[in-house]
Amino acid sequence: MEAGEAKSKKAGGSRLCCICNQRRPVLKRPKTLQQICRECFYEVFEEEIHQVIVGNRLFKSGERVAIGASGGKDSTVLAYVLSELNRRHNYGLDLFLLSIDEGITGYRDDSLETVKRNEVQYGLPLQIVSYKDLYGWTMDEIVKMIGLKNNCTFCGVFRRQALDRGAALLKVDKLVTGHNADDIAETVLLNILRGDIARLSRCTSITTGEDGPIPRCKPFKYTYEKEIVMYAYFKKLDYFSTECIYSPNAYRGFAREFIKDLERLRPRAILDIIKSGEDFRIATTTKMPEQGTCERCGYISSQKWCKACVLLEGLNRGLPKMGIGRPRGSGNDQKDTKARSTAKSIESKQCGSLEF
C-alpha cells in the first residue's frame, strides 16, 4: 500500500496502459503497481531480463548454456524467455535443457513429461540425468530406507552434483537456474536469521562457482516470482505445479510468508532486501574452505570425500545417519537435529534448491 497505492490510483484514472498509452490495461504490474497492457508487460518483463544479462555480462557469444529445468514455473519461463532473447538479440548461445530425475514417483515423472514437451515446444535439446544412474538410488528408495526425516539433505546434495555432472555431459560452459528475486531475498533473510555471514556475503551474487568447473548464474535475480507466474499465465506456458510429495508444506516457511506480506505493503521491499544483501559491509577476508577434489569421485570437495560420497557410502552400508549432522563426536548429534528442525520451519524450500 503506502506510496504504491497512491501511484496506482493515479494510473487508474487514465484507463489506458501507462506505458504505451494506447491499449487497455489488463494487469497491475507486481513490481511497480503500474497498470499496463499485456503487450507492454511482455516487453518490460523480457527487456528487464535482457538488461540484467547484458549489464552483468552473463554470457559470451558462442557459449553452450544449460538451463536447469524442473518443469516448474521458474525454469519453464526461463527456458522460454532465454530462447526468445537468444533469438531476438543474437546472443549466439547454444541452449540446452538439463533435468534431474530424482526418481520420485507421482512427482518427478510427471514434471519430466512437462520438460519433454518443452523440449519440443522450444526446440531445445534435453538431457536427463537420474539419481539412479549416478548413484544407484532413487529418492523413492532412499525415503523407503531413511524415512521422511533428512531426506531433503540427500536430495539437495545429490542434485547439486547431478547438475554439474549433467552439465559436464552436455559440455556446457554455463548453467543457468530459475532462482527469482523472492528466492534470493528469502535467502538473504535466512542467512541473517541463522548467523551465516559467509553465505550472506555470496548469496546475492548473480554468478557463482566461477572458480569451479561450471559457473552458475541466475538471470531472474531481479525478477519477481509473481511476474513469472503472470508471464506463464498470460503466455499459457506449459508448466507443472505440484509440490514435491516428500516435502509437503514446503511453501509455508515464516520467511516466505514475511516476504509476501512485505511485498503487499511495499513491492519494492524485495529489491531492497537484495540491495541490502549486495551492500552489506562484509570483510573480504571471510574464510572460505579450501577447495580440493573428492578422492573417491573427483568432484570438488573441501574434505577428503565429497558430501555426496559420504551420504552414498552411508546408504550403501546401511548406515543412513552417516554424514548427517556434524561429524564431531556423537554428543552433538541430538543438538544438531534439533537445530535442523527449527531451521526448517523458517525457510520455505526445504529441498535444497536454495543452495547457491
Binding site: 503506502e2 506510496a3 533473510l189 548467523g195 531492497d272 570483510a283
Partner: protein, 459 residues
C-alpha cells in the same frame, strides 16, 4: 504464579508465588535435599518463576538474575569506555521499560562511583554527571496530548524520586529542532510530516528528528555522552527493517555499542540484553513504565517487529542470533569512542580499552552521510552528488540522500520536494551543503597518491 510454560526447564512446580518476592536463604537451605529447586548459579537461593514462557524461567534466583543483567550492562559500559569518570551523561528516557532500566543502571553506577569517591583518600576520580532527557512528541501526535501531559508528569516524579546525586531533567518538544519560536516550529514539523507520503517514512523521519532533539539537548547542556536504552530485541528488529529498506550498507553503523558519528556520541549499554530480561527486571525491581501508543500499526516497522516476535517464539535465541550476525558486518571508523589524550583516564581503563577495541578496516571509511537519516552513504548512492553544482536546493537534497530516504521520505514530484526541503530543520539543510565539501574531500582521497601537493595548497 504457577509456571505452566513449556520452556520451563527446572526448579518450578505448581507452587503459587508472587512475582518479585525474594526467597530467604534459610528456605532454600531447608529445601536443600531437593537439588532441583535451587538457583543454577548460586546453588542456594530459590529460583524465580515469572511464568512468561522464557526458556530460562525458574533457573535463577532474583539476585543472580539481576546480577547477570547488570553484569552485561556493566561489561558493555566498561569495555567500550561508554562512561568514564570525567563524563557528563545524558540518558534518553522515553518511559518504556528499556530506557527505564538504562536509567536505573546508570543511576546505580553513579551511586557506586560516588561511594568510591567518598571512600577514596585522594579523590582523584570525579563522579560522572547524569542528566535525563524526555522528548515531547505532542506536536506529531495531537491526539495523545492528554496522555503526554500525564507522561511528562510521571517522568518528572520518577526522575526526582531517584536518590541523590540529583539529576537534571530536560523535557523538550521535538519541534525545537526547527527553531526557538515554538508556534512556527510546530507548524513546520506538522507540514514536514504531512508532506511525507509513506507511513513508514513518516515514522522514520520522526525518529530521526527525535534523535536530533536529543543531540540538541545534549550539546546545549554540556553532555558528552547520550545513553540510549535500545535492547537486543529492538536492535534485531532494526537489523531486519534496515535490510528490508535497502539500508544494508549503513546498517553496521547503527548497531554497534558506540556510535560517534553524532556530535555527542551515542552509546547502547543494553545492546546485549533481550526484552524479556528487561521486562522481568522491571517486574522484579518494581520499576514502573509508561508506554505511549505512538507507533503506527500498519507500516514496515510494525510488520518486522511482529515477524521478529514470531521468530522469537519459535526459537528463544533468535533475536540474539540476528544481532550477532549483524555485528559481524564491518563497523565504521566512528563506531568507537574517539580517543582522547586525557591523562585523567587511569591506566587500567586504557588497558581495558585496548583489549576490546573494535578492529575496523581503515580503507573502508566513508565521509558522506545522508542529510536526513545521517546514515553513511555507499559509493553507488553518493555518485550523483557532484553533477548538481548549479541546481536547485531540492535537487541537491535529493542527490545527497540515501536511496532509502529518497524512496520513503522525500516526496516524488519536484514542487513538493521543494516545499519539503524548505520545511526541513536548518541543521539538515546545512549538512547538504557541507556534504559537497565532503565529497570533494572524498574524491581527493581517491586520487591522493597521484597528487604532489598537500591539501590546502591545491584547493
Amino acid at each position: 504464579m504457577a509456571c505452566n510454560s513449556s520452556g520451563c526447564e527446572s526448579g518450578c512446580y505448581d507452587r503459587e508465588k508472587d512475582d518479585g518476592s525474594k526467597i530467604s536463604v534459610e528456605d532454600a537451605v531447608a529445601g536443600g535435599g531437593n537439588q532441583e529447586s535451587v538457583c543454577v548459579k548460586c546453588k542456594c537461593n530459590e529460583p524465580m518463576t515469572f511464568g512468561d514462557g522464557g526458556s530460562d524461567d525458574g533457573r535463577f534466583c532474583a539476585e543472580c538474575f539481576r546480577n547477570n543483567v547488570f553484569g552485561k550492562f556493566r561489561l558493555a559500559v566498561t569495555s567500550h569506555a561508554m562512561i568514564t569518570p570525567s563524563d557528563n551523561v545524558l540518558v534518553a528516557f522515553s518511559g518504556g521499560s528499556s530506557s527505564r532500566v538504562a536509567l536505573q543502571f546508570v543511576h546505580e553506577l553513579q551511586i557506586k562511583a560516588l561511594k568510591n569517591y567518598e571512600a577514596s583518600r585522594d579523590r582523584s576520580l570525579p563522579v560522572f554527571g547524569v542528566g535525563v532527557a524526555f522528548v515531547d512528541e505532542t506536536a506529531a501526535f495531537p491526539a495523545l496530548s492528554t496522555e503526554m501531559v500525564d507522561a511528562i508528569e510521571w517522568v518528572r516524579s520518577t526522575v526526582s524520586s531517584l536518590s541523590p546525586p540529583a539529576k537534571d531533567l530536560h523535557v523538550v518538544p521535538v519541534e525545537s529542532v526547527f527553531g526557538s519560536d515554538s508556534l512556527d516550529a510546530r507548524d513546520r514539523l506538522v507540514k514536514l510530516l504531512d508532506s511525507v507520503p509513506d507511513d513508514t517514512g513518516k515514522e522514520d523521519l520522526l525518529l530521526h528528528l527525535k534523535m536530533l532533539t536529543l543531540q540538541k539537548i545534549a550539546s546545549e547542556n554540556g553532555y558528552n555522552r547520550l545513553v540510549v536504552g535500545s535492547c537486543t530485541s529492538r536492535i534485531a528488529s532494526h537489523v531486519l527493517s534496515a535490510t528490508v529498506k535497502g539500508r544494508g550498507y549503513s546498517l553496521s553503523a547503527d548497531i554497534q555499542h558506540v556510535d560517534a558519528r553524532w556530535k555527542v556520541p551515542i552509546v547502547l549499554p543494553l545492546r546485549d540484553c533481550v526484552r524479556l530480561e528487561i521486562t522481568r527486571l522491571c517486574l522484579l525491581d518494581g520499576l514502573k513504565t509508561v508506554e505511549l501508543a505512538c507507533r503506527s500499526q500498519c507500516g514496515i516497522n510494525d510488520l518486522v517487529s511482529s515477524f521478529v516476535a514470531l521468530l522469537q517464539e519459535e526459537n528463544p535465541s533468535r533475536e540474539c542470533t540476528i544481532v550477532r550476525t549483524a555485528a559481524k558486518l564491518t563497523p565504521f571508523y566512528f563506531n568507537k569512542i574517539p580517543e582522547t589524550d586525557d591523562s585523567n583516564v587511569p591506566m587500567a581503563t586504557q588497558r581495558r580499552l585496548k583489549r576490546f577495541n573494535i578492529k575496523y578496516d581503515g580503507s573502508m571509511t566513508t565521509e558522506a552521510f545522508c542529510p536526513i537519516c545521517n546514515g553513511p552513504l555507499n559509493r553507488s548512492d553518493s555518485s550523483g552528488l557532484d553533477t548538481f553544482e548549479e541546481c536547485l536546493e531540492s535537487d541537491v537534497l535529493y542527490a545527497a540522500c540515501c536511496s532509502s530516504c529518497r524512496f520513503q521520505i522525500l516526496p516524488e514530484d519536484g514542487s513538493s520536494l521543494e516545499q519539503f526541503s524548505s520545511y526541513l530543520p536548518d541543521h539538515m539543510i546545512s549538512q547538504v551543503k557541507h556534504q559537497k565539501v565532503n565529497s570533494q574531500a572524498y574524491l581527493r582521497e581517491k586520487i591522493k597518491d597521484c597528487l604532489l601537493l598537500d591539501d590546502e595548497e591545491v584547493v
